[in-house]
């Protein structure tokens, strides 16, 4: 990730296909694992842990959307709705049928995958703009259904309060005793699942299924001519993407121990779309960069905005700050699209390219 890619001559097929062509790559990964799996959770306070959890969940959701939008080229403005399906599936199983957290997660993923593939069916006849509008319809229809079907939403305010996430009935004793340990425990669950999600996504695009996705994105007609079953792979892509969304949604619901449709509105769908576009379409790492960026943006704006508020308005101007956030969010999306369409991932690659032969550029 951070190594300079020069002077790296490959002499054998093995070295060409190696997972880590340079030892430094392996060390980088070990360092990242060390930092985010051991050092960060031990040092972080409650605030940072909460932030870490939310970013982790967002990363998982963004990777899912990037599989669909970035790699398969199918636009979805209903990603949050698929997350909602996962969240409510998990919550209902957990509270009404006493299913444990560990089994709730795959169930949520599968349910989302089914619903996602159903709403992916129009993608077989339509594409581009039409697909965008049809997923928008999916968002509204799912949101309305969850909100109005009493059996799903459980009545007042459409909230379901879940139990604490257990691993086959086991919850660390410290986590039950103290709020911070509980957060740390949840952080571990999220980070481990995120790790699995990243590994799966990276490997997916080394496999034939992933390559079929990319072929469909690049040119669907050519893909069909070389024998890719478009019907199957488009639906697979919807299913995989929604599976990620379902897991992310279920994690989000267990993180707050509440399933509420307000966490999965159209605005969240657009947030996820912004994540993959700002991060970089068609890149797993890009989705992670984007998720981190979009999650941190409101916090940075808060800090910056309260500074402006204190300096120019002599105190808190919360309404103004909210509008400023909305404005900056939109402006950033436009800025990235116009100036750097391939997103943060590309910026990072450009930086690396600059240092490739540095300091002897000529």
């Amino acid at each position: 990730m951070i190594n300079r890619e020069c002077g790296n001559f490959k002499r054998t097929y093995q070295s060409d296909m190696a997972l880590f062509p340079v030892p430094l790559q392996l060390y980088t990964i070990i360092a990242i694992v060390l930092i985010f799996y051991i050092i960060f959770p031990l040092l972080a306070n409650e605030y940072l842990l909460t932030l870490g959890c939310l970013i982790g969940i967002a990363c998982l959701g963004a990777i899912g959307l990037n599989i669909l939008t970035g790699f398969t080229g199918q636009i979805s403005i209903g990603h949050a709705a698929f997350m909602m399906v996962g969240a409510y599936t998990a919550a209902i199983l957990n509270t009404r049928y006493g299913v444990g957290f560990v089994l709730c997660l795959p169930a949520a993923g599968i349910m989302s995958a089914l619903v996602g593939s159903f709403f992916g069916i129009p993608s077989l006849r339509i594409k581009g703009l039409y697909l965008a509008i049809s997923t928008l319809a999916a968002q509204f229809i799912l949101e309305w259904t969850v909100n109005h079907w009493k059996w799903i939403s459980g009545g007042a305010f459409s909230s379901i309060y879940t139990k604490k996430p257990d691993i086959f009935g086991w919850i660390p004793a410290a986590a039950l005793a103290e709020a911070e340990s509980m957060l740390r425990y949840k952080y571990y669950i999220i980070v481990i699942l995120l790790g699995l999600g990243v590994i799966f996504a990276l490997n997916l695009f080394r496999s034939s299924v992933g390559r079929a996705f990319i072929a469909i994105r690049d040119n669907d007609v050519s893909a069909e001519i070389i024998g890719i079953n478009i019907f199957r792979y488009k639906l697979t892509s919807f299913a995989v993407s929604s599976f990620y969304a379902g897991i992310a949604g279920a994690l989000y619901c267990f993180f707050y121990e509440t399933a509420n449709y307000e966490g999965y509105t159209i605005i969240i769908s657009i947030d996820y779309l912004a994540m993959v576009i700002i991060g970089g379409l068609g890149s797993v790492l890009g989705a992670i960069y984007g998720a981190i960026f979009i999650q941190l943006l409101p916090i940075l704006l808060d800090i910056f905005g309260s500074w402006i508020g204190n300096t120019f308005f002599g105190g808190a101007a919360t309404e103004f700050l909210n509008q400023l956030k909305t404005f900056t969010f939109g402006a950033l999306i436009i800025f990235f699209l116009v100036v750097e369409p391939e997103g943060l991932n590309r910026l990072w690659r450009n930086t690396k390219d600059y240092f490739r032969v540095w300091p002897f550029s000529y």
Binding site: N147, H148, Q323, F329, A331, I333
Partner: protein, 302 residues
């Protein structure tokens, strides 16, 4: 069945009339969307926000410059035309040739910008758009009709007819259709494609002003006004994305369906069908007749 129908005919008629009138107002907003799509194949997810922005400008002119409504609308028209040109130049032109998702996302970004910017400039409370139209409803054959709806309907029809004529008969309109049909051929025929993209955005700005004045009068001018834009999608999908007459038919159908759904389904399921029914209709259309009633069918196996 006939008995039930006889009992309910009055209620149904009331719902239908209201729905159809509102449908015409949806058509007005959807028109701006179709204009842009027709000319540049760009999808404008910020149509509702454009309407809101235009409404804010007109109200702000009337309130702070103390001009009358007519001058306010003129200023609004000028401002929105300039704004449309700026958006086209600064945002859409660099995106020519990029994938659809980029353009969709850019207009969503524009929507966020407008939604954040307007209250920052003009404040948060709902502003009132006063029109010199009587507030009391008329009674026509036992059905109550608000005068504002009728006036708005007339204005919408006038605008739709004007744009329909423009596209069918005028030189620029034909050029715009050529651009929409095939950009490269249009270029080869000596049509200045980028010029017509700009014209389309300027026209969308004009339509937004009319929409902003009428809808602003109905709902009040604030951030919620932009939500009207969400009704655009069912309307344009039903009518066909690139069809001006389709907008009218789509608007009428959506208006009638949502009004009937609100009248009959709301008591059963506890509200909210108004926003939901048009989308169900739309997804059915997308599955079975994706190019709408009047849209140009692009036969393509995917």
């Amino acid at each position: 069945m006939t008995e039930w129908f006889a009992e309910n005919i009055h209620f149904i008629m009331e719902l239908l009339v209201e729905g159809l009138l509102i449908g015409m107002l949806y058509a007005l907003i959807a028109l701006g969307f179709v204009l842009i799509y027709k000319a540049s194949d760009a999808i404008n997810f910020a149509q509702g926000e454009l309407v809101m922005f235009a409404g804010y400008i007109v109200v702000a002119c009337i309130n702070s410059l103390k001009v009358n409504l007519f001058v306010g609308i003129l200023i609004g028209l000028a401002a929105m035309v300039v704004f449309g040109l700026v958006v086209e130049r600064g945002m859409l032109r660099p995106l020519i040739g990029r994938p659809v998702v980029s353009i969709i996302m850019a207009t969503i970004g524009l929507a966020y910008v407008l939604r954040g910017l307007s209250p920052m400039i003009w404040g948060y409370p709902t502003l009132e758009m006063k029109l010199p139209i009587r507030g009391m409803p008329w009674e026509v054959a036992g059905i109550l009709v608000m005068p504002i709806y009728v006036v708005a309907c007339g204005v919408s029809l006038l605008l739709l007819a004007a744009f329909g004529y423009f596209f069918l008969k005028s030189r620029s309109g034909i050029a715009m259709r050529a651009v929409a049909d095939d950009q490269q051929t249009a270029l080869a025929m000596g049509i200045n494609v980028q010029h017509f993209f700009a014209v389309a955005w300027a026209m969308a700005g004009v339509v937004a002003v009319v929409g902003g004045v009428i809808w602003g009068n109905l709902l009040g001018v604030d951030n919620m006004l932009a939500l009207v834009g969400l009704k655009v999608f069912p309307v344009v999908i039903l009518g066909g994305l690139d069809s001006v007459p389709g907008v009218v038919i789509g608007g009428l159908i959506v208006g009638a369906v949502e009004s009937l759904a609100a009248g009959y389904l709301d008591p059963l399921v506890g509200g909210g069908t108004k926003d939901f029914a048009p989308y169900v209709l739309m997804i059915l259309f997308l599955m079975f007749k994706p190019y709408g009633l009047f849209g140009q069918e692009i036969i393509e196996r995917v």
